[in-house]
C-alpha cells in the first residue's frame, strides 16, 4: 500500500540520525510545495489495543473516502491534487494519539481526521491546536471536546448532549404512539466514560419525561459474565431496559436474557456497541430481535451511502457507523480544501468553519459548525427486525415501523 511505504520510508529517515530529524523539521514544510502535488491528510485511529476493532473500521472509511476523492479527479481547485494518507496508530491511548499528531505535523499534513475515543480526541486535538492544525473529530462523544474554545477542533458527529436529548424525545414519541405501555425503566451501563456519562444524563432527564428509574446497574468493560445484571433486571422487572454497553458485554447480556426468559416490553439502547451491529444480528438473530438503538447511522436515502455499504460488505467486513462517519469526515475535509483552494491550514480551518457541506452520507443535512460542533448532527433510531436493521425514526427516511411493545 502506497501510504504505508511512504510513511515507512520517511520514518526510517527520521530514525537514521537525529540530524536527519532536525533537518526534516527545518526543511520546507510540504504544504508550501507547488500545486499539483499531493495533499497529505492525517488519519488517526486506534488500530491496535483495546479499541482496535473500531479503529480499523474508522480507518477503512477514511481510506475509501480518499480513494473516492482521488478517483473523481482529486482536488480540482488545486489542479487535481490527490489526497495522500498519513496513517497514525493512536494505540488506544491519549499519548499514542499525541505522538501520532506530532508525527503528522512533521509530515506536513494539512489536517487530521479521527481519534474515535474521547480521551484520545481530547489529547490529540489539543496537541494539534499548538500547530493550528485543523482536526475533525469523528466519533468522540464527550461534550468537553468542543467546549474548550479550540479554534482548530471540529466535531462532525453529535455529542452526548444531542444524543441523549434525541434518544429521550424519540422514546417519549415511541411510548406515546403505543399508548404509553412503558413506565418503569432499568438503566444498564458500562462504567467507563461513555456509559457513565450517558447514564448520568439519562438519570437526570428520564424522570422529567414521566419515566421511573427502578435501578441503574453499572458493569465493567470487559465483563466476564452478565448473569448478575440479568438477575437484577429480572428482579426489578422493568417495562423498559436501557443499556449502554460495548459490543461484547451487550452480546453477553442479550444471550443471558434470552436464556433466562427475561423479556421486557422493550430494549431501548443508546449508543450501544452491539445493538446496531450487523455482526450481532447475524450471529444471534434470536437475541437481537426487536432490540432498539439510538445511535450514529448512515443516511439510507443517499446512493453513495448504499454504494459504500455494498463496497464494504463485498470486502467481507461489516458496515459500522464509524466507517460511514470517517468516510463523511474525509469528504467534508476534501470539500473544505476544495473551497479553500489551498493546503494552507488557516484557510482550511476557515473553510471548515464556514462549511455548508451536504455531500456526506450521514443524515445531518447541510453542515454548520458553531463553536466546532456540527449543528445538524444527530443520531437515528434503529430496530432489529428480522435479519435487518431498520431505521424507525426520523420519519423522513424511516424504512420500518417501530415494533413496540415487543410481542410477548
Amino acid at each position: 500500500m502506497r501510504t504505508g511505504i511512504t510513511t515507512t520510508l520517511t520514518r526510517r529517515n527520521l530514525l537514521a540520525t537525529t540530524a536527519g530529524a532536525a533537518a526534516a523539521s527545518l526543511a520546507m514544510p510540504s504544504y508550501l510545495r507547488a500545486q499539483g502535488a499531493s495533499i497529505k491528510v492525517g488519519i488517526l485511529q486506534p488500530v491496535t489495543g483495546a479499541l482496535a476493532f473500531d479503529g480499523q473500521q474508522g480507518q477503512l472509511g477514511a481510506e475509501l473516502a480518499v480513494k473516492a476523492v482521488n478517483d473523481t479527479g482529486g482536488i480540482k481547485s488545486l489542479g487535481g491534487a490527490k489526497l495522500e494518507i498519513v496513517m497514525g496508530d493512536a494505540r488506544s491511548t491519549p499519548d499514542g494519539g499525541t505522538s501520532e499528531v506530532e508525527h503528522m505535523q512533521n509530515e506536513g499534513v494539512a489536517a487530521i481526521v479521527g481519534g474515535f475515543a474521547s480521551p484520545i480526541c481530547l489529547a490529540a486535538t489539543q496537541a494539534a491546536a499548538r500547530y493550528d492544525l485543523p482536526y475533525i473529530v469523528d466519533v468522540g462523544v464527550t461534550d468537553q471536546i468542543v467546549q474548550r474554545g479550540l479554534k482548530n477542533t471540529f466535531r462532525f458527529a453529535p455529542g452526548f448532549g444531542i444524543v441523549s436529548t434525541t434518544a429521550l424525545d424519540n422514546l417519549v414519541k415511541l411510548n406515546d404512539a403505543a399508548g404509553k405501555p412503558a413506565k418503569t425503566v432499568v438503566l444498564v451501563h458500562e462504567d467507563g466514560l461513555f456509559g457513565s456519562g450517558l447514564a448520568k444524563l439519562l438519570q437526570a432527564e428520564l424522570p422529567k419525561r414521566g419515566f421511573e428509574i427502578l435501578d441503574t446497574i453499572a458493569h465493567p468493560t470487559p465483563a466476564r459474565d452478565m448473569s448478575n445484571v440479568a438477575l437484577q433486571i429480572r428482579a426489578k422487572n422493568p417495562d423498559l431496559l436501557i443499556p449502554s454497553s460495548y459490543y461484547g458485554e451487550f452480546v453477553l447480556l442479550a444471550r443471558t436474557m434470552q436464556q433466562q426468559r427475561i423479556k421486557p416490553k422493550g430494549v431501548y439502547c443508546v449508543l450501544n456497541g452491539a445493538a446496531s451491529n450487523f455482526r450481532f444480528v447475524k450471529e444471534f438473530p434470536d437475541a437481537a430481535q426487536n432490540v432498539m438503538d439510538c445511535n450514529h447511522w448512515y443516511d439510507p436515502r443517499k446512493e453513495a451511502a448504499v454504494a459504500l455499504r455494498k463496497q464494504v460488505e463485498a470486502q467481507g467486513k461489516f458496515f459500522t457507523y464509524n466507517t460511514a462517519l470517517n468516510y463523511s469526515c474525509v469528504l467534508l475535509l476534501a470539500d473544505a480544501i476544495e473551497r479553500a483552494a489551498s493546503a494552507d491550514r488557516a484557510k482550511i480551518t476557515a473553510a471548515l468553519a464556514s462549511s455548508t457541506f451536504a455531500g456526506h452520507i450521514m443524515p445531518y443535512g447541510p453542515t454548520k459548525f458553531v463553536d466546532g460542533q456540527n449543528q445538524g448532527a444527530g443520531p437515528v433510531n434503529l430496530q432489529v427486525q428480522g435479519s435487518d436493521i431498520k431505521v424507525i425514526f426520523p420519519d423522513a427516511f424511516a424504512d420500518g415501523k417501530p415494533i413496540f411493545p415487543v410481542p410477548a
Partner: protein
C-alpha cells in the same frame, strides 16, 4: 569512586541531554523524549525499591496515579497553584507509599507476594478512581488549557523536556547519594539477606519504609508531570497496568540497581518501539508484536550485554579510583 567522579558523571550526562532541544530537533523527537523521560522518572522510583531494595512492585501505577490525580484535583477543584499542587502531589505520593509499605512489610510480605499485593492496590485505586465522583469518575479530570509559566503550562515542548530532565537528573543524584550512604548500605543489605541484616541491628522495617516512601514520591512526580503535559488524567491513564509495566521494564532492561539503568532502559524501550514501528508500520499489531519478540531476544541475548556495556563503561570511568563503597549488584 570519589564524590567528584560519582556525581560528575551524572551532571555530565544531564548536561549533554540538556543540549538536545538546542540542536533544533523535530517536535516528534522532543515529544518522544518527554515521554521517555517520564518513564525514566517513574522507573527510577521503581528502581530504588526494586533494583536496590530487591522488592519488585507490580503496582507502581498506584503512586503514579496518586501523583497525577492529586495534582489534578488540587488544581481543578481547589484552585491550588499548579507548582504548589505539583509539590503537594509528590508529598501525598510519599505518604501513600508509606502506608502501602507499612501494611505490606508489617505482614512480612516479600518476593512474589509483595509484587502481587502492590498489583492489587493499584487495581483497587483504579476501580475507585473510575467510580468515584471525587476523582472525576469515568471521564477523569481535565485541566483547563491556560498556557502560562505560572500555571505550569508551556507553549514549547522543550521546557517540559528540561523539567523532566531536571527531575530525572535530580533523582539520579539522590540515588548516587543513597548508594554512598548508610541508608543505601542498609537497603542493599536487606536485599541480600534480611535476616542477617536484622541480626546486625538494622531496623529493616524503617529502612524499607523510607525506601518505599521515596520510591513512591519519585514515581508520583512522574505522574504529576504527566498530567501537566497532557492536561488529562483518568483511571486507566493514572492507575492502569501500562505504567506499572513501563516503570519496571525500564530499569530491568537498563540495569537493575544502577543509577543510569532507568534512563538507559527508557531510551532503549522508546527506540525499540520506534524501530518496530518503522519496520512494520503497515499491518496493525505487527509492530507491537515485533516489540514483544525483540524484548524476548534482548533478554535472551543481550541481557548480559546491556549490563556488560554499563559495567565496562563504569569500569573504565573508575579505573583509577578505589572500588565503590557499595557495589550495586543485580
Amino acid at each position: 569512586m570519589s564524590a567528584a567522579r560519582a556525581y560528575g558523571l551524572i551532571i555530565g550526562v544531564v548536561a549533554l541531554f540538556a543540549l538536545v532541544p538546542l540542536a533544533g530537533p523535530s517536535n516528534t523527537l522532543l515529544n518522544g523524549m518527554v515521554l521517555a523521560l517520564l518513564i525514566a522518572l517513574a522507573g527510577s522510583g521503581w528502581n530504588l525499591l526494586g533494583g536496590y531494595g530487591g522488592l519488585f512492585s507490580f503496582g507502581h501505577a498506584a503512586f503514579f496515579g496518586t501523583g497525577a490525580y492529586a495534582s489534578a484535583i488540587l488544581q481543578s477543584r481547589y484552585g491550588v497553584n499548579a507548582w504548589a499542587a505539583f509539590a503537594v502531589a509528590i508529598a501525598i505520593g510519599a505518604v501513600v507509599g508509606w502506608v502501602i509499605g507499612f501494611l505490606s512489610f508489617r505482614s512480612g510480605l516479600r518476593g512474589s507476594y509483595f509484587a502481587l499485593v502492590t498489583l492489587a492496590f493499584a487495581e483497587v485505586f483504579r476501580i475507585i478512581a473510575n467510580a468515584s465522583p471525587f476523582f472525576g469518575g469515568a471521564p477523569g479530570i481535565l485541566l483547563k488549557l491556560d498556557i502560562r509559566p505560572a500555571n505550569f503550562q508551556f507553549e514549547s515542548r522543550a521546557i517540559y523536556y528540561w523539567i523532566a530532565l531536571a527531575l530525572v537528573g535530580l533523582t539520579m543524584l539522590v540515588m548516587r547519594a543513597i548508594e554512598r550512604s548508610r541508608l543505601g548500605a542498609y537497603i542493599v543489605a536487606i536485599r541480600e539477606n534480611e535476616n542477617a541484616a536484622k541480626a546486625l541491628g538494622v531496623n529493616s522495617l524503617a529502612v524499607k519504609l523510607k525506601a518505599i516512601a521515596l520510591s513512591a514520591a519519585i514515581t508520583a512526580a512522574a505522574g504529576a508531570l504527566y498530567v501537566q503535559y497532557f492536561l488529562l488524567v483518568n483511571a486507566d491513564l493514572g492507575f492502569g497496568t501500562w505504567i506499572s509495566i513501563d516503570a519496571l521494564l525500564a530499569p530491568i532492561i537498563g540495569g537493575l540497581g544502577t543509577v543510569f539503568g532507568p534512563l538507559l532502559g527508557a531510551l532503549l524501550l522508546h527506540e525499540l518501539g520506534e524501530l518496530t514501528r518503522a519496520i512494520a508500520g503497515g499491518v496493525p499489531g505487527i509492530d507491537t508484536a515485533l516489540f514483544g519478540a525483540l524484548l524476548i531476544l534482548v533478554i535472551a541475548f543481550a541481557r548480559d550485554g546491556v549490563q556488560g556495556v554499563i559495567g565496562r563503561l563504569f569500569a573504565r570511568m573508575t579505573r583509577k579510583t578505589a572500588p565503590p563503597a557499595i557495589e550495586a549488584v543485580s
